[in-house]
């Protein structure tokens, strides 16, 4: 690996598009080459900034227009058959509406929480308020939450696999205080939001919101949300190590 090759693959590296072996070669080069490692830091810093530019969500007006178009189109060219279908639909609707509404509101709530934890992550970064307790020692961070929360969040030491703990703070999700643990991968902070869950264990569900990678899981009566600008491969590696 030389600097020329390293430069050529820099973006693919930052974007998590290299194979693990290519990635490792590049990683080794960064360890020994100050100029390339500087370029890497610059790229990563830039990506973080770009991800903070406004995300334009679709106005409600547009959503309504699209739905209306759909309805107009589906009525056009239909006749009695459609009306018959409507009657059948209306009959079955009564039965399904309850189930549907519940599933929908649950999905909606999960989406709302996902938005909120991403908001929490961004807020912590922009306000430069990542920790109330700054420590790489799990035995310092875990007891810090005592007396501040009515539960004790699991805190892990993952420094050996490249995800050092850097601190913790109290954050708020859905109006309730939750534990936010901050881990780090290279220059990427990872916020892990934890609070007690009424739900049963659920496997990792990854999603991407406004460019942030978000992973959610439920384990032993605790619900976890990990948020980072890290790529999905590495975040999943982290989450698995955390027990997700």
């Amino acid at each position: 690996m030389n600097c020329h090759e390293s430069e050529r693959q820099l973006d693919a590296y930052v974007d998590g598009e290299l194979t693990p072996s290519e990635s490792l070669l590049l990683h080794e080069h960064f360890e020994t080459c100050a100029a390339c490692s500087r370029r890497l830091a610059e790229r990563e810093a830039l990506s973080r900034l770009v991800r903070l530019v406004p995300y334009h969500t679709a106005p409600a007006r547009l959503r309504a227009r699209v739905v209306a178009t759909r309805k107009r189109t589906s009525w056009a060219g239909t006749g009695l058959l459609a009306w018959a279908a409507v009657l059948v639909l209306a009959a079955s609707l009564g039965a399904t509406i309850m189930v549907f509404t519940r599933a929908r509101s649950e999905a909606k709530m999960t989406t709302a929480i996902a938005e909120e934890v991403v908001g929490g992550h961004v807020r912590a970064l922009t306000a430069q308020h990542l920790f109330d307790v700054r420590s790489t020692d799990q035995h310092t961070v875990k007891p810090w939450f005592l007396g501040k929360l009515d539960f004790s969040p699991p805190v892990s030491d993952l420094a050996s696999i490249g995800f050092p703990l850097v601190g913790g703070r109290i954050d708020h999700v859905a109006g309730k205080p939750v534990a936010a643990l901050v881990y780090q991968r290279r220059q990427h902070p990872i916020n892990v939001f934890v609070w007690p869950a009424a739900a049963k264990d659920a496997p990792i569900a990854p999603r991407s919101i406004r460019g942030f990678q978000v992973e959610h899981w439920v384990r032993d009566g605790m619900t976890f949300w990990a948020v980072s600008d890290l790529n999905q491969t590495e975040l999943t590696e982290f989450v698995r190590a955390l027990g997700g």
């Binding site: 820099l10 693919a12 810093a45 547009l62 699209v66 178009t69 430069q128 991407s208």
Partner: protein, 178 residues
């Protein structure tokens, strides 16, 4: 195809469609029109064309819709030639990563720099950084080879860095984690 399945497939990606269109046309009402048109087309081709990646599929339709309108209006899309490639590859001086702390004015400057990039670069950056699309998905949306996606991202980022370096970077306090 039932009404629900169209709505289930398309509506969840309406934000992505609008964000992409908005960054392409840089204007709210025009972006709404593009997305509205795109959805009409998506509906028309819904049963026949949809692949296994509805988001990339919808974004590709948004792009085609925009491209069609734009070329109809101006007779051509802004191309990459508007900037000097040689200068682009040799930024004047190193930028201290510490200077890229997350601050509002920094973000505003990046936003402005991004808006001023030629659309070929702007769109791949938006799809990558804001939508989190993979190179393969971006290639499908923009309809270019993956290698082109990679080089456009690289040059787009070089260009943004060059703009940030040339403007007066007032370093504030550093962020805790960088």
């Amino acid at each position: 195809m039932s009404q629900r399945s169209f709505e289930e497939v398309v509506l969840p990606h309406l934000d992505a469609a609008f964000n992409y269109a908005r960054w392409l046309v840089k204007n709210d009402s025009e972006a709404e029109d593009v997305v509205q048109d795109a959805c009409v087309r998506a509906l028309r081709f819904f049963s026949s064309q949809r692949g296994d990646n509805p988001r990339a599929w919808l974004l590709a339709i948004v792009r085609n819709t925009w491209y069609g309108r734009f070329t109809a209006k101006t007779g051509g899309v802004e191309r990459m030639s508007v900037f000097d490639e040689a200068a682009d590859e040799h930024p004047g001086h190193e930028l201290d990563p510490q200077a890229l702390v997350i601050q509002r004015q920094e973000v505003e400057r990046v936003q402005q720099a991004l808006e001023e990039l030629p659309s070929d670069f702007r769109e791949v950056l938006v799809l990558r950084e804001l939508e989190g699309l993979s190179y393969k998905e971006i290639a499908a949306v923009v309809q270019v080879p993956i290698g082109t996606v990679m080089s456009r991202l690289a040059r787009g980022r070089e260009r943004l860095l060059a703009v940030l370096k040339s403007s007066d970077v007032s370093t504030g306090e550093t962020r805790e984690l960088s």
